[in-house]
Symmetry: C2
Subunit: 205 residues, 2 copies
Amino acid sequence: MPANIPDIVIGRLPVYLRALTRLAQEGHEVTSSHELGQRLGISSAQIRKDLSHFGGFGKQGTGYQIGYLVEQLRQVLKVDQEWEVALVGAGDLGSALAHYKGFGDRGFRIACVFDNSPQKVGQRLGDFTILSTDDIEKNIRERGIKIAMIAIPAEKAQEVADRLIGAGVRAILNYAPINLNVPENVRVQYIDPVVHMQRMTYYLT
Amino acid sequence: MPANIPDIVIGRLPVYLRALTRLAQEGHEVTSSHELGQRLGISSAQIRKDLSHFGGFGKQGTGYQIGYLVEQLRQVLKVDQEWEVALVGAGDLGSALAHYKGFGDRGFRIACVFDNSPQKVGQRLGDFTILSTDDIEKNIRERGIKIAMIAIPAEKAQEVADRLIGAGVRAILNYAPINLNVPENVRVQYIDPVVHMQRMTYYLT
């Protein structure tokens, strides 16, 4: 695996993978950086440069074999396996995530759902029985889970993150609208619809 | 308003605003680029440079008045007003968004909810009566709505986006796992939990 790839490049690879998977579903077998760029609103030069970090995956002038490129990108991103994911929070958002069908064929499977509400613990949520947040450490450690989604109010998010990390989690998708302080060996990605929308209103006239 | 601010700078302003609002809620009145940077995992130099695009908002050595900086950032991001937002999709995710309490005090209010299912149209969803997607144009135009959230399957997302844009929408928060082709005067932000997680698995060992 090549070292020192800029994180911004890594961040584009899942977007390429998603678009390529869709092209394959539509029956395409070959594509070009030009075609892919048009779909994504990214320049073809950018795409070629990004992929060149990993050897290029294509021959000059013949385009990319989509199936091959998909497999290579899945390997690079380590989603040629299925990662178990812990979900903390069984409210409206947590329930939507627990029911979401789009994880499985893209490298992830929710393995357990936690909530701190006595009314919810023990109840069914989709395929899951909701576990108590008291049991976070035990379950995360036993299963060796490395990835968690946090879908709880901001006030509790740091405490839950600390406990997840203490039990071995190294990647957190945080839906709580607050920044988390984590050790250097832990990654956090943030999803906050308001932050995304505020970034657009700046440009509205 | 200063021109030609890099979009990556604009993208950090909502994160600063969120952290500053929380500092204010915690009772702080003054902060520094150092303190803010520690909370956010961003260097203090980066924060000062970002804010300097807009005049700086602080005096050398005395830090930032949080209340004043919050108001200034809200003005810059144009969220010192309340934007009406159209939500398309009343499934699990759309329902979670319709019930979400965190929009109001940050500049946004869901104004109408659309779905294409005859079983859902006319039903209540939180404070809303679900409208038919057939009525997208009429409602968007009448209300002058500029912002929409798309929470429907990928297959229908481009068609819905085209219709929203035709009716006047200029900013789309797209939860459908597909890239949208939009005119240059329209902004799109994407939320796809799998893309965020795939960006982290690359780093997991």
